[in-house]
Subunit: 794 residues, 2 copies
C-alpha cells in the first residue's frame, strides 16, 4: 500500500482549502435545517427551521472534502473531471458545491449566488416542490442517481470510455461497496484502454457505517482491505484521519500522486512505442469519521463517527432549545461570517478556488451529455435487407442481418468513437458476430494465442455481468454517446432495478430545461422465451416488457419485429431516438421472412397493420388473428393456412403488431392508436385471437379500455414447458397453430357446429405431435419445415 506522507499544501493554501470545505459544510447543514435566516444574521429561532427534517448528514462532509480537493487539482492541472457520487445520500454536498462554484445558478438562474439564492437553495432541499435529499438528475454535474446504490463505478467507467482527456473521480461509499453490482465493477479496469479511454479514479470513502450497521470494508483490517484492491488490480493509497489539517495534507498528497500516476500511465500508453498493457491504476481509500465536524454527542449518545450521524443528528431543533442551541453552534463552528459577505456571496478566497468555466465539475458538458451528442452516421439500412420474393417462403436470420448493419455502423462512426455494443458474453451466440470485422472486444487482461477478437481498443464490451454491462452503457449514454445492450431475454430481469432508475432519470431530465436529451437506451433481447430448446424453464421469462411498461409512457417503447427486415428497420429507428428506453425482442434463429424491405419499413413506420397477403376478409372479417413477436407470428400464419385449407369460406384478417405501445390508447401513450383506428383494425364485435410473445395478460392490460376488448382472446407464455423442441414449446403454452385454429372455431359462433371435424383434426395433430416429439426428440418434419404457401395469397 502506498502510504502518502508528504505535506504538499502551503500554509495559505491549506487555510483556503479548509475555508472552502467549511463553506460547503455550512451550506450542507443549512439545507438540512434552515427555512430562513440563511446567514445566521440573527439568533436561530424555531421559525427559521424546517418543520420536517429530511436529509442525510453522515456522508456529506467527506463528499465536500473530496470536492474541494478535486477543485485544487483541476485548477493546477487544467483537468477535465467528472465527480460521480456513489454515496448518493450526500445530496447536500453536491448541491452546496455546485452553488458555491456557480454551476447551480447557471442551471437555475433564480437561485442566485447571494443571500436570497442561499435561502432558496436551503428551502428547496427535501421540500415539496424542491429536490430530493440525494444526488439526482436535478444536480448539475451529476450522472449518477444516488437513490439505489451500487452503480457509481460502472457509470464512471462508462463515462471514461472514449473520453481520453477525462478523469472521472468516483466516490464509492463503503455501504454501496457491499452491493453485488459494485463488487464486480472494480473489474472494469480490465476493459479500460489507457491509450484511447480516459481514467477513473476510485475513491473508496470508508466512513465506517451504513444506516444502522458498520460497513464490511471498514471492519476487515488494512491488510485484507489492501489485498482486496490489489487483487482487483489497483494500487491503493490510504488516507486516514480525523484532524482536518492532517487529512488535507494527506489527501492533497494522495491526489497529487494518483494524478501523476494516471498521467504517467497515459503518457506511456499513448507514446508511439507503447505496447498495450493493463496498468495498475491508482485508487484512494479515504478513512474519515462519518458525520465529521457535526455534533460529537447528542443527548448523551455519540453521534460523530457512528451510524447515528447517518441522517439528521439533531432532530428536535424546533421544540428543544438545547438541540437548537447545539445546531446554532454547529453552524457557527464553520464561521460563516468569514465565508460569505454581507450579501451572502462567497468571499474571494473561496471563488479563487473554483476552476474556470467548464472545468467546474458542476458545469462539465460530459455530465449533461446531450450537449456533446453527435448523431450517428448510419448505413443506408435498405441495403442490408434480406430479399423477400414472397412472404414467408424463405428464411432469414434477424440478428445476423442486424449484425452486418451494426458492423458498418461501427465503421462509419469509427472516427467519432461514439458507439459501443454491450453484452454478457453473448454477442457471438446472439449471432451478431459480423461486428468483429469492424471492431474487437475490449480486453486489457492477459491474452493467449488462441484468443479471438480481443483487442485493447475493442468497441464491444463483454463481461458475464448484466449489471456491469448496463452500468457501462448508462454511463456512456449519460455522457452523450450511443450504444446497444444485447442480452438473453430472461436474464435482463437482472437489471430491472437499474432500468427503473434510468427511466426515472429520463423522466426527470425531460422536465429540466437545462438538461439536453441523450441517446436512448437500446435493448436487443434475443435468445427469447420460445427458443430455450435445451436451457429450458429457467431461461424462459418474457416479463421484462411488463416491467418496463410500468414506467412513464413518454420514456418507454417496446418493439416485436417478426422477421429480419422489420428488425433492421426497428433498430435503425431506435439508434436515432433520444431519451427513451427501447426494448426490442427478436430471435436469433433462422425463421421465415415475411416482408420485403419496402413493406417492412412501411409496417414499422405504422407499428401495426393488416397483413393483406394473409387476409381474405374483404373488409369484413369473421375473425381477426392478431400477432406480436416472431414465433407467435409464424404460428398465426400457420393457423391461417390450416383454417384456409379446412374452412375456406372463413373470412380471416391478420393483424401484426411491431410497436406494442400502439395497443394503448392515444391518451395513454404517445404511440397509442386512436380508438377509431384501433376499432377499424380489430373491429368492435368480431372475435380477436391474439398470439402474443409474452405473458398474455399484458395485452389485456394494454387494451382494457378498447371497445372490442371483451372479444379479445390472448395466447402467450403461461410458464409451461421446459427442455423441448421449438414446436412442442408453443404446444405446451397453447400458442401453437392447431390451438389457435381451435380457438378460432371456438369463438366464431357460426363455426361451432360447422367445424366439428376440423376441430377434431387439429386436436389430433397436437396429440400426434406430442407423441412423436417424446419419442424422436425433434419436431415432425411437416411442422419443422412448414412455410407459408403463396397459393394462399390474395
Amino acid at each position: 500500500m502506498q502510504q502518502i506522507r508528504t505535506r504538499p499544501l502551503g500554509a495559505e493554501e491549506l487555510v483556503d482549502l479548509d475555508a472552502y470545505w467549511r463553506a460547503a459544510n455550512y451550506l450542507s447543514v443549512g439545507q438540512i435545517y434552515l427555512l430562513d435566516n440563511p446567514l445566521l444574521s440573527e439568533p436561530l429561532r424555531a421559525e427559521h427551521l424546517k418543520p420536517r427534517l429530511l436529509g442525510h448528514w453522515g456522508t456529506t462532509p467527506g463528499l465536500n472534502l473530496i470536492y474541494a480537493h478535486l477543485n485544487r487539482v483541476i485548477r493546477q492541472r487544467e483537468l477535465s473531471m467528472l465527480y460521480v457520487t456513489g454515496p448518493g445520500h450526500g445530496g447536500p454536498a453536491l448541491v452546496a458545491n455546485t452553488w458555491l462554484e456557480g454551476s447551480w445558478t447557471a442551471a437555475y438562474p433564480t437561485t442566485t449566488r447571494d443571500a436570497a439564492g442561499m435561502a432558496r437553495l436551503f428551502k428547496q432541499f427535501s421540500f415539496p416542490g424542491g429536490i430530493p435529499s440525494h444526488v439526482a438528475a436535478d444536480v448539475p454535474g451529476s450522472i449518477n442517481e444516488g437513490g439505489e446504490l451500487g452503480y457509481s463505478l460502472s457509470h464512471a467507467y462508462g463515462a471514461a470510455a472514449d473520453n481520453p482527456d477525462l478523469v472521472v473521480a468516483c466516490v464509492v461509499g463503503d455501504g454501496e461497496a457491499e452491493t453485488g453490482p459494485l463488487a464486480t465493477s472494480w473489474h472494469a479496469n480490465k476493459f479500460l484502454n489507457p491509450a484511447a479511454d480516459g481514467a477513473v479514479l476510485p475513491i473508496l470513502h470508508l466512513n465506517g457505517y451504513k444506516i444502522a450497521n458498520p460497513t464490511l470494508l471498514a471492519r476487515i483490517g488494512d491488510d485484507e482491505l489492501t489485498a482486496l484492491f490489489r487483487g482487483y488490480g489497483y494500487e491503493p493509497c490510504l488516507v486516514a484521519g480525523s484532524e482536518p489539517a492532517d487529512v488535507h495534507q494527506a489527501l492533497a498528497a494522495a491526489l497529487d500522486h494518483c494524478l501523476d500516476r494516471i498521467a504517467e500511465i497515459q503518457r506511456e500508453a499513448r507514446s508511439a512505442a507503447a505496447t498495450p498493457a493493463r496498468p495498475g491504476w491508482p485508487m484512494i481509500m479515504l478513512r474519515t469519521p462519518k458525520g465529521w465536524t457535526g455534533p460529537r454527542t447528542v443527548d448523551g449518545d455519540q453521534i460523530e463517527d457512528t451510524w447515528r450521524s447517518h441522517q439528521v443528528p439533531l432532530s428536535g431543533v424546533r421544540t428543544d432549545d438545547d438541540h437548537r442551541r447545539q445546531l446554532e453552534s454547529w453552524l457557527r463552528s464553520y464561521r460563516p461570517e468569514e465565508l460569505f459577505d454581507a450579501d451572502g456571496r462567497p468571499v474571494e478566497r473561496l471563488l479563487a478556488q473554483v476552476p474556470r468555466a467548464e472545468l467546474r465539475m458542476g458545469s462539465s458538458p460530459h455530465a449533461n451529455g446531450g450537449l456533446l451528442t453527435r448523431d450517428l452516421v448510419l448505413p443506408a439500412v435498405a441495403e442490408y435487407a434480406v430479399p423477400v420474393k414472397s412472404p414467408g417462403v424463405e428464411d432469414g436470420e434477424p440478428t445476423k442481418a442486424f449484425g452486418v448493419y451494426l458492423r458498418d455502423a461501427f465503421e462509419l462512426n469509427a472516427p467519432y468513437r461514439n458507439l459501443r455494443l454491450f453484452g454478457p458474453d453473448e454477442t457471438e451466440s446472439n449471432r451478431l458476430n459480423a461486428v468483429y470485422a469492424a471492431t474487437g472486444k475490449a480486453w486489457l487482461a492477459d491474452r493467449k494465442p488462441t484468443d479471438e477478437h480481443l483487442a485493447p481498443d475493442g468497441r464491444v464490451l463483454e463481461v458475464l455481468s448484466e449489471h456491469l454491462c448496463q452500468g457501462w452503457l448508462e454511463g456512456y449514454l449519460l455522457t452523450g454517446r450511443h450504444g446497444v445492450f444485447s442480452s438473453y431475454e430472461a436474464f435482463v430481469h437482472i437489471v430491472d432495478s437499474m432500468v427503473n432508475q434510468h427511466a426515472k432519470w429520463l423522466k426527470t431530465i425531460n422536465r429540466l430545461e437545462w438538461r439536453r436529451p441523450i441517446p436512448s437506451l437500446n435493448y436487443l433481447l434475443t435468445s427469447h422465451v420460445w427458443r430455450q430448446d435445451h436451457n429450458g424453464f429457467s431461461h424462459q421469462d418474457p416479463g421484462f416488457i411488463d416491467h418496463v411498461v410500468n414506467k412513464k409512457a413518454e420514456v418507454v417503447r417496446v418493439y416485436l419485429p417478426p422477421d429480419a427486415n422489420t428488425l433492421l428497420s426497428t433498430m435503425d429507428h431506435c439508434l436515432q431516438t433520444r431519451n427513451q428506453i427501447n426494448v426490442v425482442v427478436a430471435g436469433k434463429q433462422p425463421q421465415p421472412s415475411w416482408l420485403s424491405w419496402e413493406a417492412a419499413a412501411l409496417h414499422c413506420a405504422r407499428g401495426i397493420g393488416v397483413w393483406d397477403f394473409a387476409s381474405n376478409d374483404d373488409g369484413d372479417p369473421d375473425v381477426v388473428l392478431a400477432c406480436a413477436g416472431d414465433v407467435p407470428t409464424m404460428e398465426t400464419l400457420a393457423a391461417v393456412s390450416l383454417l384456409r385449407e379446412h374452412l375456406p369460406d372463413l373470412r380471416i384478417r391478420v393483424v401484426n403488431v411491431v410497436d406494442l405501445m400502439r395497443l394503448q390508447g392515444a391518451t395513454e401513450h404517445p404511440h397509442g392508436l386512436p380508438d377509431a383506428e384501433f376499432d377499424a383494425l380489430f373491429t368492435t364485435d368480431k372475435p380477436v385471437i391474439f398470439a402474443y410473445h409474452g405473458y398474455p395478460w399484458l395485452i389485456h392490460r394494454l387494451t382494457y379500455r378498447r371497445a372490442g376488448h371483451d372479444n379479445l382472446h390472448v395466447r402467450g407464455y403461461i410458464e409451461e414447458g421446459t427442455t423441448t423442441t421449438p414446436f412442442d414449446m408453443v404446444v405446451q403454452n397453447n400458442l401453437d397453430r392447431y390451438h389457435l385454429a381451435m380457438d378460432v372455431i371456438d369463438r366464431v359462433p357460426a363455426l361451432r357446429t360447422r367445424a366439428v371435424r376440423a376441430r377434431q383434426y387439429f386436436a389430433d395433430q397436437r396429440t400426434r405431435h406430442h407423441a412423436y416429439v417424446r419419442e424422436h426428440g425433434e419436431d415432425l418434419p411437416e411442422v419443422r419445415d412448414w412455410r407459408w404457401s403463396d397459393d394462399l395469397g390474395q
Copy 2:
C-alpha cells in the same frame, strides 16, 4: 498462497479414483450424445445418436473430478456434505454422479442402475419430456438451479447457517464469478459463525472460458488472484494441471488440507475457552482445462482448453463419419468395459467409492430440505394485537407490532435454530428492532465498543446487498428452515431475477414426488412507495407485485394488510405456509388501526370483504369504494367521510382487499374468488372506485374477466411525485381523498348535476393544500390529523 505439493493417494486409490472420474465422464458424454447403444456394445451408428445435440461439455469433467474427490473425503471422514454447482451448465456431471452413487435411481426408480437405466438416463437429458441441460431441481442433491448464474455461494452460505455438522462444497464457475451477486457473496464469510454454523468450502473452478470469451479471473495472474481472495478473507490453495494423475494427487492433498483446517477452526471455535473470532477459511482455486479429456481438436480447431468446448464439441456426428468416429474414440477413451459390467452396472471398484446412505451427496436430506423442516413454534398472535376500540381512531405501527411478535418467535424457536431475518441494513429503520431483545445481528468482522446488537450468533443477517440477503434466505429455505426478508419496496426489484428462479424451482418441485415442500419465501416490503417523504422519486416503485404475479398462480401470494392487526394475522399465516412466495406490503409509519384483532383475523381469513362500519348501502349501493393497501385504505375512508358529509344520501359500500389474488377468478388462482361472490361484493352494474397501492393497471389485469369490469375505475401510483409530504404524494397521483370523492361524483350518473358544488369544493381543497404544502413544507393539519369519526358508523 498455500501450494499443496504432497501426494496423498496410494497407487490403487489413485487408479480407483481415476476410474470413478472416467465413469462419470463417460456417463456425461453419453447423455449429450446417445439415444441408444449406451455401453458401446456395438460400433456407433447414426441412429444411436440424438437428432438434436443440446448440452454443455466444457465444465463437466471438472465437476466430475471434484465430485469424485469429495466422495473420498466424505468416506474417510464420515462427512455430511452438500455439493452446490455454480457452473450450472454442468448438468451431465451431477446427473452422472448421482446415478453412479444410486441417488438418481432412489428418486426415479424406473431409471435403474443398469444398461436399461443408463439408456433412459442418456435419452432424457436435454430431451422433450426429460430434464434440462443444467443442474435443476430435478437433480437429487441440488439446491441451486444452474440456469441464471451468480447465486451458488450465497445459497451455500445459507445452507451452512445453523447446520454445524454440514460442509457445503460450493463450486464457483469462473464465468459465474464475474456476476455482481457472486462477487459480493465471498464476503458472506463475515457472517458465518464457526461455532454454531457449518462450513462452506468454495472451489473456484478456473477453466478459463465462458461461452465465447476468456474469464477475467483466469487472466489476471496468480498474484492478483491470490491477493483478491486473501482480501475477501480466505486462505486460498491453488491446484493446477492437466495431467490427471498429478491433478488427482494435488486436489486430494488440497482437500485434505482444507478439511483439516475446517475441522481445526471448528474445534477451536467450539471449545469452551473459545473467543469468537473470524478465521481465515480455506478455499481451493482449481485450474484445469475446459473440456478436459474431450477432443483436442475438431476440424483443425483447438477444442480442449478453449471456449469452443463450452457446449457440444462434435456437432456433426449424425451426418459426418469422421465426427462420429471421433466421438466413438472419445467415449472409448474412458474404457467403459472396465467401468460397467455386461449389464451396465457400475463395477465394484466404483461402488466401493460411494459414501454410505445419506452421506451420498445426491441423497443428503439437506438438499431435499422439506424432509428436515420442523414447523415453527409461533406465539399466540392475538396477544400481540393492538387494541382497537373503534375503527380508524387510534394509530398503530404495523411493522413495530410485528417486530414484537417476531421477537417472541425467535425466542420460542431458539432451541431449534431454524428461523432467521434478512435485510439490507433496514431492520432498525423498518421498525422491527424489538427482535434485538431476542437475538443479535450476525457479525464476525471487527467490532468496536460503540457497536450495538452485533453478535457472532445473531439470527438477523444484514448486509447492503439484496442479492446476498435473498441468496442466503433461499439457501436457508431450500435446506428446510424458515425466514423473512424485509426490504425497501422499490429496491426489492434488485432480486427480480432471483425470485423468478425461485418461483420456477417451486413450480418444479411441486411436480416432483420425491421433493418435500419447503417453507415459503416471505417478503415484508415496507418503506413503500407512498412514504418516500425525503427519498423521493428514485425510491418509489410498487412494481414487484406486478413482477411476481406473472409467475405460476400456485406459487404466488400477495397481501396488502391495511393496519397493524391485519399485518400480524398475515405474517402469522405466511410463516406457516410451504412452497410459496408471499409478498406482504405494509407501512412502517404510524397509521390508523381499522380492525380489532377478531375483525382483523376474520378479514384476513376471507382476504376481501365489505367494511360495514364504513358502509351505508343497505345491500344496494350507488357506488362501491374499494381499497387495497394502507395508504389507499386511509384515503378511501377519508373520501367516504367527505362524501357522507357532503352527500349524505349517497349509498356507499366499502370493500377492502388484503389478499390481492382474491381479485382473480377461481379458475386462475387458488385464492381466486368465484364470480358469484365477486359480483356480490362489487355488483355488476355500479361504479367501483378502486384505490390501489401500486400501478393501477394491475387491478385491471387481475379483473378483466369479471362481469363488472367495465365499471371499474382504478387509482394508484402513476410515477408522479417526488420529495414531498405524505398527502401531497397521493394528491400528485390522484389517489387522494378529494380526488376519490370527485371520481365518485363523476361516475355516479345521478350525482353529476346534483353534486356540482361538492365537486368544486373538493377540487378547491386540492388546490388549497398544494399551495400550503409548497409554502410550509408540511401537510395541512386537517389532513395530517384526520381520523375516521365514529359518528359515521352505522
